[in-house]
Every structure is written in C-alpha cells, then in structure tokens.
Amino acid sequence: MPLLEVKNLHVNVGGTEILKGVDLAVNEGEIHAIMGPNGSGKSTLAQTISGHPAFEVTDGDIVYGGESLLGKKPEERACAGIFLAFQYPVEIPGISNSLFMKSALNAIRRSRGLQELDAFEFLELIKEKANTVEMDEALLSRSVNSGFSGGEKKRNEILQMAVLEPRLGILDETDSGLDIDALRIVADGVNSLRAPHRAMIIVTHYQRLLNYIVPDFVHVLNGGRIVRSGGKELALELEEKGYSWLEEEALARS
C-alpha cells in the first residue's frame, strides 16, 4: 500500500478549479519531484495535502497511511507525520523560533503518546539539528522568520522538518530565491533526512535542485493534471526543452 495516494483530485481555490483530476502514488522511501510551469497547480497540490483551508476539494480523495485526509485538520495531518515546507514561510513576531518548534514537537509527541521534551532536552536537540542545516543559533531565539533573509527562512523550514521528523515531507519551491550555497545547504539537509520509512515530494519549477536531491520519479503537472511521469531523466529533458512543448501537446490534443 502506498504511503500517499492522490486519487482523481479536484481542487477549487476561490471558486476557480485549479486541480482537475490528479493521480499520484508515493511509497515509503521514495522521492518524487513535481515539476511544471507557473500556475500549473503544483503549490495547490502541496497546500491541499497539508490541509490549507483555502483549498477546497470538490472531487476525488487523498489517502495517507490507508486513511482519507479529507476533513482532517492541518494539525491532525501534521501529527500523522505530514510536513510541508512553505514556499513563503510566515513571519510571526513575538513567538521565538525555539518556542514555536518546541510547541510543535511536543504537540506531535503528545498525539503519539510520547512524553514531552523539557526545555533542556529540547535545547540539546535543536542545537544539534541547527548544526546540520548550518543555521546560526542566534536565529533560534529570534521571532519566527521575522527579519530572516530568504535563505534563512528556507533553512528554517528544513530545520523544522529535521526536528519534527515527518513520514512525508513536502517541499514547496524550497529552491526559489536561493543562491547556490544556500541551495546546497538545503539539499544536504534534505538528503540527510532520506530514510527507508520516509517519503518526500519536491515541488519545483527548475531542474537545478534535482542536481542535489536526486528523485526516484518526476511528474510534470500542467493545467491541473499530471501530463507526464518518468524517472530522473525526465527532469533533464525538461531542462533542455523548457515547458513550451506542453502547450504544443495540449493544443495537439484539442
């Protein structure tokens, strides 16, 4: 049984249909890349799996660990092991980064019947994890994402993923706006989280992140549907040909 199964998913945002029947199966241990031009619905798919209330599922289903996610709150999905690294991480003035991550980790631990970490245990954990994404410890005591640079925000997302250890990690355009050094650090962080029991979905516009994080499968999303699936070589083909051939194909079909 796949860890995640997206079946004929239709999603509306503000009354407009963005996803028009997406099918996708992701098994434990696999990394899937979802590529596609702007406006193809990549982020919509990512946000819908994480449970953002603005994304309305009108048809189809998302099955995770054998259970439908529809009707489940975002926090329930997170506690079940789903993690979305945001394309635009939100700034929350007044809440320290470490209080935020401690609250999140302990909420997830509580939901699994595990004992909460105390302040001391958490500090030890967070320092170790911050090290792996080469994050300045000073950012832990700052307000969540407030005044962080673009690269710091993305690294902070990967740090959260490292702390929360999800079963399914979804990276929504984590590479956008990163210079090559930041890209490498983010990719190293993601690669260190690769594990047989963990799956990842990498949503990206460009192929370059996939030089660092090598996917098992690549899917091309266009016009709200997956129009092509293949291995990692598909990403290279896209890099070479761009996305314009998709339009030609779509025209040819119609």
Binding site: F86, V90, G94
Partner: protein
C-alpha cells in the same frame, strides 16, 4: 407614587454629597486640620462637575450610567478569613526583600504586609505617615492631581482617608520592588473605596513600584483610586499598575506623575478586570531632559469596557516620551484608547512617539482609538500610529500545519501580541505570572 426616602437609596452624585455631610465630622476628628479645606474644595468641585456624560469629550465612549444608577455603601470591615488571605497572597510578589503593603476593602491589613524597610525608605499607610511625615505630605498631597475636569479625582480627594505612602530618600537605589496591593472582597451590598497613594522618589533615587487592584470574583464594588507620584531630579522610577478587579466591579483610577529634570519614568499598565474600568495616566515632564515611557496592555472579554486615557505633557525642553499601548478584545467587550501628547511653547527638542495596536478576536468587540497631538512648539519630533486587526490567518495556519492545535495556536499568537508589553516588565515574578494569566484568560474564554 413616590417611594419612601427611607427605602430608596440615593445614587449618583447625590449619594456622595450626602455621604460627605455624614463623614466630614469623622474626618475632622483626626487632627489634620489642613486637609479640611482641601476636602471641602474637592467636594465642591465634584458637586459642580457631577458624573460626566457622553457629551463630555473625555468620556464620549465610556458610558457611566450603570455606575451612576447604583448605590454604594461604605466599605465593610472584614475579618481576614482563609479565602481572603489566600486570595491576597496569590498576588504578592515573590521577589526577596519586596516591601508589600496590603489593603483589604480600603483598610490597611498589617497581617498581610511586610514593611520592614531600612535606610530611610518608607512604605506605610498614608494615614499613619501623616502623623510623623506631615510636612513632606502636606507639600505634595493633592498638589499634583488637578481637580478641573476630573470629577473622580475630586471625589477621591473629598473622601481621602488612607492609601499607601512611599518615600525613597535621595540617592537610594532599591533593587527589590515595592508593592501596593488593594484587595476587595464580596459584601452583601455594593460598596465604594477611595484609595489614595502618594509616592515620592527624591533626587537620584531608583525604585520599582507596583500597584495591584484585585477583587474576589462576584464582588460588586467601586474602586475610585488616585495616585500622585513625584519623580525627583535624576531619579528613575518604574511604575506598574495591574488591574484584576472582579467581573462585577467598577474601577476608575488616575495616576498623576510629575517628573523633575533629567528623571526617568516608565509606566507599565495591565487592565484586565472589572465590568467597567478606566485608567487615566497623566505625566508632566516638568523638568528639562526627562525621559517618560508609557506601556499599556488591556485585555477585554464578555461585556467588559476598558478605557485608557493618557496625557504626556511636555512642559520643558529636550524631553522624550515613548508610548506603546496594545489591546486584545474578545466577546462583546469594548475599549477606548485616548493618548494625548501636549507640547508647551518652550518645550523645544521634544521627541515623542506613540502607538496603539488592537487585536479584535470577535466581530462584536469594538475599540475607539484616538491620538491627540497638541503641539505649540516648532522644533519637535512627534509621531503616532494606530492599528486594529484580527489574528493573522496565515500565521495561524502555519502554526497548525506544524501540529499545534487551533486553540493552542491562537493562545500562542495572542501571547505573542501581548508579549511586546509584558516583556518590558522588569520584575521577573510578575512577567512570568502575567504571561500565564494571559494565555489562561483567552483559553478559558474558548478562544
């Protein structure tokens, strides 16, 4: 049909005028003849002004009809039972060496107080201090809090009986805070107290002074408090005013501050209790080169109405003031923020900054926010801003997407909003306790 005057208690202004007639002979007995003309002037002024109506610009958004239509008795004497003692103790500060003076229903409670001061620092009931500090008290008491347009200061002054007296002598720098705690208990009938505090920090003195007002839940009463605070030349005073009155209480308080040259003063207020509460803080930056800061937080729920009026009077050159007020309103609560900055003609090089931010948690909650700048000098830097908003939904979703349940996520964000003010509280036990209270308050209300 006319009801018998015996069974219809007087209310509003009339009850206080009648009570003054009855009480004055008792006041006159205490051997402080110099207070008598002050009281008489005050009751006269109160009689002229009466209860302000909403036609009065300063009271436009605060309706006193419920207060005016109620009869208030003199505060009952109570014996300190376990409940009252435990309640009072829950507000005491944990800092070692803190000097704490406690009043229950307006009466000094020596059993709950710890006043062992040294090096000339004096914390004592005002009535007691009048016996041996007559000269100092006479120089300051009722000299700073003006009566014009302030009917409740006039009322307080007319009924001036007791409260806290604090004197920090020259160059004394206190580490441990001084705490004034006013507890009200429940009684068969609503009652009124008029606490009057006089706080004096001499030249170069430093102190943190906390005023707490708290009432047992269910208690119906009216606290009408006035505090006069003198910050001497180059002195540094932090003043904290915490208002946890009972949900049925009326609380009207004025804090009048006078800052001498090169002094520093910071006010931190928290207003969260009471059915109707108003806090007036008036700071006169009287000497050159003063720094004044006003930080306030008001937290309303249910049908509460919380009014914060501040006046920063820049009366001398080269003074700076910083003001940050924040509010969180839930249910059908309402609040007023009115911040006036007044710059006198010769107060050049004034630097004043004011901001008010309010978070509305429900559709029925309302805030009236109004800055007032009255600037009569030309070389002045003055900025102000106000914002009203709701909880940021994208931040809320971000927290929830990390596994934090909605109720906890909301509490975290409310705490984060309030934290800017609470974080400035430089008394550790207070900061920790208030953080917890804020989270509990809005969780209890099902937010």
């Amino acid at each position: 049909m006319t009801a018998s005057p015996l069974t219809t208690p007087l209310v509003g202004k009339e009850q206080f005028l009648a009570e003054f007639e009855r009480a004055e002979s008792a006041f006159a007995d205490n051997g402080r003849g110099w207070l008598q003309p002050i009281r008489r002037e005050a009751i006269h002024r109160f009689a002229q002004m009466g209860f302000p109506t909403r036609r009065n610009e300063q009271w436009r958004h605060t309706n006193l009809a419920a207060l005016e239509s109620q009869a208030f008795r003199r505060a009952p004497d109570v014996s300190l039972n376990e409940e009252i003692v435990a309640f009072a103790r829950s507000f005491l500060l944990a800092e070692p060496g803190a000097l704490q003076i406690v009043f229950v229903n307006g009466n000094f409670a020596p059993e709950l107080s710890s006043l062992a001061a040294s090096d000339g620092v004096r914390v004592s009931p005002l009535a007691m201090a009048m016996l041996d500090e007559g000269e100092l008290i006479r120089r300051h008491l009722a000299r700073h809090a003006r009566l014009d347009e302030r009917p409740f200061v006039a009322l307080n002054t007319a009924f001036l009986r007791d409260g806290a007296f604090v004197h920090i002598p020259k160059e004394r720098r206190l580490d441990a805070p001084i705490h004034l705690l006013f507890v009200s208990t429940s009684a068969a009938e609503p009652f009124v107290t008029h606490p009057r505090n006089l706080l004096i920090a001499d030249e170069g003195a430093e102190a943190k002074i906390v005023e707490t007002y708290a009432g047992l839940s269910g208690a119906a009463y009216f606290t009408n408090a006035t505090t006069e605070l003198v910050v001497g030349p180059a002195a540094n005073v932090e003043h904290y005013k915490l208002q946890f009155e009972s949900p049925a209480a009326f609380h009207l308080a004025t804090i009048q501050v006078r800052q001498e040259r090169a002094s520093r003063f910071a006010s931190h207020t928290l207003s969260t209790g009471g059915l109707l509460a108003r806090n007036d803080i008036n700071v006169a930056l009287a000497g050159e080169g003063c720094e004044g800061a006003l930080h306030g937080l008001y937290l309303g729920a249910g049908k509460q109405h919380l009014d914060s009026h501040t006046l920063l009077e820049h009366a001398s050159p080269r003074c700076s003031s910083r003001e940050v007020y924040k509010g969180i309103l839930d249910g059908e609560s309402s609040a007023v923020f009115n911040g006036c900055i007044q710059v006198h003609p010769h107060a050049q090089k004034t630097d004043a900054l004011q901001s008010n931010k309010c978070l509305l948690l429900s559709d029925a909650a309302a805030i009236h926010t109004q800055p007032q700048l009255k600037i009569y000098a030309d070389d002045v830097k003055c900025t102000h801003g106000a914002s009203v908003g709701r909880l940021d939904q994208s931040a809320l979703h971000y927290l929830r997407s990390r596994g934090i349940a909605e109720a906890e996520a909301r509490a975290l964000m409310i705490y984060a909003f309030a934290n800017e003010v609470i974080d400035g509280f430089r008394i550790d036990s207070l900061r920790e306790r208030l953080g917890r209270r804020i989270v509990e308050r809005f969780q209890r209300n099902g937010v």
